[in-house]
């Protein structure tokens, strides 16, 4: 549990639109260790998806990573050629997306789509790929996998499709699985099954997970460490118990407000007064100042830095700046 599998360092991803530059992600840094499950939380639009897509270089035009490093096994993925990064995608690092209903190609059978992922990265023939796909489908709990192999996506429920996505994502035993709100679109019972499945499989295969979600309940159940994002920046990072017991950033406190105990966290993010500033309208000074009950004069003038303390946590707030600056 010591070696860092992935290190995101000072990531800046901006969108160059006709109406100007949208700085969606600004200086995000975090790391993921082998076998670790980390959670990224934050309100809609804070840059969670952009961060996760940036890791695999999946940001489309007009978006661009303008600064920063994505170190995977020490190698910076941002310097990889398209061909090199393709060998990572779906193989070493794979993704599951929020929308199970639209994330599978409607004109190919699910079996074909899983087999394709296998054959892209492993030197196996069609027959072998089919056998592996069927056993993956069995593994993710599909009844009658031999028959379901030939099913088109529209015949399956959302939960079933998300199982297919998981099967596909795990088909090459990735070292890192990025799940961007994998259960948000599903109803509660299915949600639990899918999360349990992800957790079991990742334990079995020792896969690290980055789990992105709105749902603090999911965070409490699933992850080891939490990164809280606001306005394209990380505002707090800590291990899951300390974060729930002792949130430091006023934003994190706001999120946890009505959910005091870790075992009772079933609700979605408690809404905080005020609106999330859009990335093109961030204020000078602290991004959270307009909604923060503790805002001071200083907060309106200067942006606080993300400061790490000796216990392994870090926070970006003038109320917690007495310690030494480690991250920028």
């Amino acid at each position: 549990m010591t070696e860092n599998l992935l290190e995101v360092k000072n990531l800046h991803t901006h969108f160059f639109t006709e109406n100007g530059v949208i700085p969606s992600v600004n200086g995000v840094s975090f790391s993921v260790k082998k076998g670790e499950v980390i959670g990224i939380v934050g309100e809609s639009g804070c840059g969670k998806s952009v961060t996760s897509l940036s890791i695999l270089q999946l940001i489309n035009k007009p978006g661009k990573i303008v600064e920063g490093e994505i170190r995977f096994h020490e190698k910076d993925l941002t310097t990889f050629s398209e061909k090199e990064i393709r060998k990572i995608r779906g193989n070493k690092i794979s993704m599951i997306f929020q929308e199970p209903l639209t994330s599978l190609n409607p004109v190919f059978t699910i079996g074909h789509q899983i087999s394709e992922a296998i054959r892209l990265h492993q030197d196996v023939d069609k027959k072998e790929a089919k056998q592996r796909s069927i056993s993956l489908l069995r593994k993710v709990g599909m009844a009658n996998p031999e028959r379901q192999y030939h099913a088109f996506p529209h015949l399956l429920s959302g939960g079933m499709r998300q199982r297919v996505m998981i099967a596909m994502a795990l088909s090459c035993n990735p070292e890192l699985l990025i799940a961007d709100e994998p259960t948000t679109a599903l109803d509660v019972t299915i949600q639990k099954q899918i999360l349990k499945l992800m957790k079991n499989l990742s334990n079995e295969l020792n896969t690290s997970i980055i789990l992105i979600t709105h749902d603090l309940g999911v965070i409490a159940e699933m992850v080891d460490r939490v990164v809280v994002m606001y306005g394209g920046e990380i505002v707090e990072e800590n291990d899951v118990y300390s974060l729930f017991e002792n949130p430091k950033h006023p934003y994190t406190k706001g999120l946890l407000n009505s959910t005091p105990k870790i075992h009772q966290l079933k609700e979605k993010l408690q809404s905080i007064e005020g609106n999330v500033p859009t990335p093109d309208q961030l204020p000078s000074g602290c991004n959270f100042q307009d909604r923060c009950p503790f805002a001071m004069d200083k907060c309106r003038e200067l942006s606080p830095n993300l400061v790490a303390s000796t216990d392994g946590s870090s926070v970006r707030c003038w109320l917690h700046q007495e310690k030494e600056v480690v991250n920028v």
Binding site: E82, K87, I88, V107, L120
Partner: protein
């Protein structure tokens, strides 16, 4: 699938009735054919006798039922210009028209698919702008104008192609380009916008996250999806094809149904007009049906019930 097919075929029957009625009414209102059939110095009593012999003095509905009765037997009457049964005359011209239609569809598809895909992949580039502009131009160009222009350029000034007629593949090139260009323009535009939409879909992002290369992404994952609209688009072009064929065949003296129909209209050869219009309408229906069937085969989400 079988059930669906039967249902669709049954639906054709009332449509055919409507067409037969429209065709009949058109000719009924077109005026007195006897005037053209008899010499100018024929007496009024001769004309009257001719009308009675042809059944033209009967009431409208009797004439219509007689028309439908004949029609069911494939009898549209006799062309007085060719002095032959009208239907075989029309059917005889079918291969020529099919040949032209197929050739123009091939020309259109060969132009539109690569251009549409390319301009979608290079959205907002200079090439994209050029292709998009070109397709607006191509669509706006009337068939007869393009046909005459091509004849002037490549048959008169530079004599590489024959001016008119049918025979070798060389004869086919200018007419096929004439008829195919407008269709290609429309198809290019639609394929481009379709492709753009498809490339933004979540499943394309999923495929990319699996490590699929951008060529396979476009030509397998996206193109297979765009085939559905492309087939629909091709089906929709059939009406352009028909109206375009009338003009193109006339410009190039291409001996197809279009030319026959135009000549029959000019010569008031009503039996041939009726037969030609009926056969063309039937063709359009059949092509639409085929389009629909292909569409269903391509899209697994549609069921056949």
């Amino acid at each position: 699938m079988k059930k669906y097919l039967v249902k669709r075929l049954l639906q054709i029957i009332p449509v055919l009735f409507i067409i037969s009625f429209v065709v009949f009414v058109l000719v009924y209102m077109a005026g007195d054919p006897v005037a053209l059939m008899l010499p100018e110095d024929a007496s009024e009593s001769d004309r009257e006798a001719m009308r009675a012999a042809l059944g033209l003095t009967d009431p409208f509905y009797i004439q219509y039922f007689r028309f439908v009765g004949d029609l069911v037997q494939g009898n549209f009457g006799t062309s007085f210009r060719y002095n032959q049964a009208a239907l075989p005359l029309v059917l005889e011209r079918l291969p020529a028209t099919f040949e032209l239609a197929a050739a123009s569809m091939v020309v259109a598809t060969l132009m539109a698919v690569p251009l549409g895909i390319y301009s979608a992949r290079k959205q907002n580039s200079l090439v994209d702008l050029f292709i998009t502009g070109g397709s607006v131009l191509g669509k706006a160009m009337p068939n007869f104008w393009l046909g005459i222009l091509l004849i002037l350029l490549f048959a008169v000034n530079i004599q590489v192609f024959p001016v008119s007629g049918r025979g070798t593949i060389v004869h086919m090139i200018l007419p096929a380009i004439t008829l195919g260009t407008g269709i290609a323009a429309e198809m290019t535009r639609l394929i481009r916008s379709n492709m753009l939409e498809i490339l933004n879909q979540d499943y394309i992002r999923t495929a990319r996250s699996k490590g699929v290369s951008s060529n396979i992404l476009v030509y397998k994952h996206a193109f297979r999806n765009s085939l559905i609209p492309v087939v629909t688009i091709m089906g929709l072009q059939v009406s352009h094809l028909v109206s375009g064929a009338l003009i193109t065949e006339s410009v190039f003296s291409w001996p197809g149904i279009g030319l026959l129909l135009v000549q029959a209209v000019n010569g008031r050869d009503m039996a041939v007009v009726q037969a030609a219009v009926f056969v063309i309408a039937l063709l359009v229906i059949v092509v639409n049906l085929i389009t629909d069937l292909i569409y269903r085969l391509l899209d697994p989400r549609i069921n056949y019930s």
